[in-house]
């Protein structure tokens, strides 16, 4: 299986925040912590575009590179996860992440941020799959149930795609072709997955962002 990826189709995203609450609901993420958010550019004027953002599970993950205790790891599927038992709450991953994905339950004085929390691609964490511990610390492990992230599965307009990168690209390419090759930019793909490598689908690999 190819690596897991997220793609938000800006031509389709309507800022309904379904992805945001799907995530909140699935993992019971507490108030103030948002593993996913939707940002709207040019709000209220022609040209408005909305984009749903979460951890993109980068190929070369900056969070992983800067973590002082090496609490991150990457799975065979390319999902970037972290071990909350190891996390020291230093905030470095938050400084480094281009997408603003790492979240902290607090922003307390004396650097008391609590354990970092971020999108897990609905793949849980280092605890035993489907265990209470995994659920408490990381939320559901949908991937191990044979499902994909709740946000992408529940997206109201199917703007947010999540799963096997090749299939994501396939689905997106179908759409882009239908729209006459227009609106082909894939938000964050350049930052997250680097320049396209051989055989990557052209439609989903615009280098711009």
């Amino acid at each position: 299986m190819a690596r897991m990826k997220f793609l938000c189709d800006a031509e389709r995203c309507i800022e309904c925040n379904g992805c945001v609450t799907a995530c909140k609901q699935e993992h019971e993420v507490p108030w103030g912590v948002n593993r996913r958010r939707v940002v709207t550019i040019n709000d209220g004027v022609p040209g408005e575009k909305s984009i749903s953002v979460a951890c993109m599970h980068c190929s070369d993950a900056p969070c992983m590179a800067v973590c002082p205790v090496d609490c991150f790891y990457k799975t065979d599927e390319g999902v970037v996860l972290h071990d909350k038992d190891l996390c020291i709450g230093c905030g470095y991953c938050f400084y480094a992440c281009p997408f603003g994905a790492p979240q902290f339950p607090q922003a307390g004085a004396f650097g008391l941020r609590g354990k970092m929390d971020k999108c897990t691609f609905c793949a849980g964490g280092p605890e035993k799959d489907h265990s209470a511990e995994e659920w408490q610390k990381y939320g559901r492990n949908r991937l191990a149930e044979g499902k994909l992230p709740a946000c992408a599965e529940m997206c109201s307009t199917k703007a947010l795609l999540g799963g096997d990168g090749d299939i994501v690209a396939d689905i997106y390419r179908t759409r882009v072709l239908k729209r006459g090759g227009k609106g082909s930019e894939a938000y964050g793909w350049g930052s997250a997955y680097g320049p396209p490598t051989g055989g990557a689908p052209a439609a989903a690999t615009a280098p711009k962002s």
Binding site: A10, E11, V20, E28, P30, W31, G32, N34, R37, V38, V39, I41, N42, D43, V45, P46, G47, K49, I51, P62, A65, V66, P68, V69, D70, C71, D83, D85, L86, C87, G89, C90, G91, Y92, F94, Y95, A96, P98, F99, G100, Q103, P105, Q106, A107, G108, A109, F110, G111, L112, R113, G114, G180, K182, E185, Y187, G188, S191, A206, K208, S209
Partner: protein
């Protein structure tokens, strides 16, 4: 002084204890969420919007201006109230990562190890500088109790910060392979919290220290001569100096004041994320912090060296507050003379230790 240390230790540990007793439960929705976070509908108005609007009409589906905005690092509209939640992509993080991982860590590490190495080399070469004359047995007060309290507060907090800082900076490469993830993380969590609680104490102590010692560290013409002769360190020549010699003044102004204040200020930016400072500021603060602290630690090694094994009798001054007259004359002749001219220390009514400690043994 003991009281100081106890108080300081309590502060630190209470802080750590507090940090751990933070409620684990999810923050329940605030009772009055309207006041929870100020919602400004930031950047609702984007000056580049017109460009996209025009482009959209001329070439439907061409969103190039939008993709430029995505990269602009400006905050756009979002219902998420997190800090900078409206920023789509920030590139500062990558720059910071490169600086930190590819420059600061290797160069800083080399610098620090180099400082350690130079100290070792110097010790092997020169050994402890002995007093040239025999101790007189007559002691004169060098540091008051307050001064020593201030010094040791700074010194201990500094050490805690330095050790915890080093572990956070280099531990991943040095200790992690030895300890393994679990133990190392446990240690780092402890150290990180100590670092965060001790840091503000250090910052305050540095300020007090500055005012305590600034008068006697004021640069004078004599210091120029001292520098010209490199303090006689290499030649062995006797170079007279005031209460503090040129080297100590350099340490005071650059090490303590310069780096101390820089490190404290940048550290405080990182230590109090509750003021919604941006990632850009924190990246910058982190770089400044790490650079200044690595330099400070390197310099501090020199200071510690001179104050302990480097110079016989030096440690005693900070330990007991008294130095032998011979030591004073040899290392701080002007000061020695000034003190003698003002008053005989013994006549001042101050306590005189009955038995002078053996400098040599204490210094090792």
């Amino acid at each position: 002084m003991t009281a100081w240390l106890v108080a300081f230790a309590l502060t630190g540990f209470a802080g750590i204890a507090w940090s751990q007793s933070q409620p684990a439960a999810a923050p329940a929705p605030p009772a009055t969420p309207a006041k929870a976070a100020p919602q400004t509908f930031d950047s609702v108005l984007n000056p580049n919007a017109a460009e996209q609007a025009k482009r959209q009409q001329a070439q439907p589906g061409n969103n190039a201006p939008v993709w430029r905005d995505v990269r602009s690092e400006k905050p756009y509209y979002t219902t998420d109230r997190g800090v900078e939640a409206g920023v789509l992509i920030q590139s500062g993080g990558e720059t910071w990562r490169q600086r930190r991982n590819n420059q600061i860590i290797p160069i800083g590490g080399a610098l620090f190890l180099g400082a350690v190495g130079i100290g070792l080399l110097f010790y092997l070469w020169k050994g402890t500088m002995k007093l040239k004359e025999r101790p007189t047995g007559r002691l004169m007060p060098r540091f008051s109790g307050f001064e020593r309290s201030v010094h040791w507060t700074v010194a201990i907090t500094f050490s805690v910060l330095a050790i915890s800082g080093l572990v956070m900076l280099f531990g991943k490469y040095v200790l992690l392979p030895i300890f393994g993830h679990t133990l190392f993380a446990w240690l780092t969590i402890l150290l990180k919290n100590m670092h965060n609680f001790v840091g503000p104490v250090f910052a305050i102590a540095v300020v007090i220290m500055f005012f305590t010692f600034v008068r006697d560290n004021w640069p004078t013409v004599r210091d120029a001569i001292w520098f010209a002769k490199a303090g006689g360190l290499l030649s062995g020549e006797h170079v007279p100096s005031g209460r503090f010699n040129g080297g100590e003044k350099v340490w005071f102004w650059i090490g303590v004041l310069g780096f101390g204040v820089t490190a404290s200020a940048s550290g405080l930016v990182l230590d109090f994320p509750n003021f919604e400072q941006t990632r850009g500021l924190m990246q910058l603060a982190n770089v400044v912090h790490v650079v200044s602290t690595v330099l400070m630690m390197s310099m501090a090694l020199g200071h510690i060296y001179m104050g302990t094994v480097g110079v016989e009798g030096a440690f005693n001054a900070m330990k007991t507050g008294y130095v032998d007259e011979a030591w004073a004359k040899e290392h701080h002749e002007y000061w020695y003379n000034e003190v003698r001219n003002v008053a005989t220390p013994h006549a001042s009514g101050g306590p005189v230790p009955v038995a002078a400690p053996q400098n040599k043994e204490e210094g090792v």
